[in-house]
Symmetry: C2
Subunit: 186 residues, 2 copies
DNA sequence: TCACGTGCTGACCGATCGGTCAAATAGGCT
DNA sequence: AGCCTATTTGACCGATCGGTCAGCACGTGA
């Protein structure tokens, strides 16, 4: 793998685990066994390095949210969205971790601002679908809880089951939340 | 209110909204209409300022988690815990926001390390109560989702209903998650 | 009147940050 | 050989950070 790509991967891992602000270009260079100046040769700036590292995940998540369809009325579409969403969360854990844990406090950084906007779109799509306060909360808890639980599991000590086990379990719980089913009471 | 207390409140609000690392002592001083040196007269260091600002909330949350009882077997205790927990979340929104969004990436800061430890204790208490992967996820999503949803609602654009409305709704949804009830299927 | 403790401040310090730049190096093509 | 491009680097820059310190203003009690 080229140094260019290595730097992007190392930076992403470090941004996610130690924080964007707390990760210096010098540290990234050290981890890659090169110099700070060489990092800035491959990426115009620290912000650009972050943007490049997050781009693939943001692109995919944006596509999923944009193609969300009429999630309000159509129950099938809600479930279809759910599977794609969970898969994306699992595939891009590090970026999800970044979005969930740091986009809130770094809105001046373009890549984080883009992530914020994405979360707003997602919230808006479900806001329309939601009626009562209880229902809104159900959606909020489902989406935020899933993303945060996943992001936090890597975090400390807690190491969860493998993805093949987490995926169906996550879908099950989120289905319960997203579709207060008629076959249950309610 | 004394300048000492003002500084603590201003710092807490700024730490929560802009981030601990991104908030300089100079900015806190400016917001309070005083000098950076005077901030450091009232608080020995930036870390101490954060610790003092978070202490009341951390104390209360720690007490709740420590007194959690046998949440595994006793359903009543689970619900009693839940109400106390939700009330604490609502009462200490700013600190919850700090814990949820920043403790992960600032483990070298004592106050955040303490918050991390608290989250680990909470997770452990429910880990014991959890059997299947699905059940573990249910607890994780309930706790993380509630905390994050609440913290994020302040964040951007989204302004939710008043607390009197959020409180019962939050309890309702979390009850569903924490107690996969026999009167429902399962 | 003097002394003293409290509150507060400007000037200053060393460290670190992101970023620039000119020079050195290396490798392929003619 | 010479040349061009890509890559890498150390030295350096201005800005900002958290924190220190000597000293100033002021109310109070002896």
């Amino acid at each position: 793998m080229s140094l260019h790509d290595q730097l992007r991967d190392i930076a992403l891992a470090e941004f996610a685990s130690a924080g964007y602000a707390a990760t210096s270009l010098q540290r990234i260079a050290d981890l890659a066994g090169t110099s700070k100046a060489s990092v800035l040769y491959h990426y115009a700036s620290k912000e650009q390095l972050l943007a490049d590292a997050m781009a693939p995940a943001l692109d995919e998540l944006t596509a999923i949210v944009r193609g969300i369809g009429d999630v309000a009325a159509d129950r099938g579409q809600r479930f279809a969205f759910l599977e794609r969403f969970v898969d994306a969360l699992l595939a891009h854990r590090q970026v999800v971790h970044l979005i969930v844990n740091q986009s809130a406090t770094q809105q001046d950084v373009p890549a984080f601002a883009r992530a914020q906007e994405l979360m707003r779109e997602l919230a808006a799509a479900f806001e329309l679908a939601a009626g009562s306060t209880v229902e809104k909360l159900r959606y909020g808890i489902a989406l935020a809880g899933a993303a945060y639980t996943l992001a936090a599991s890597d975090l400390l000590g807690l190491e969860g089951p493998p993805d093949e086990e987490v995926r169906p379990a996550l879908i099950t719980v989120m289905r319960e939340l997203l579709a207060p089913a008629p076959e249950l009471k309610d």
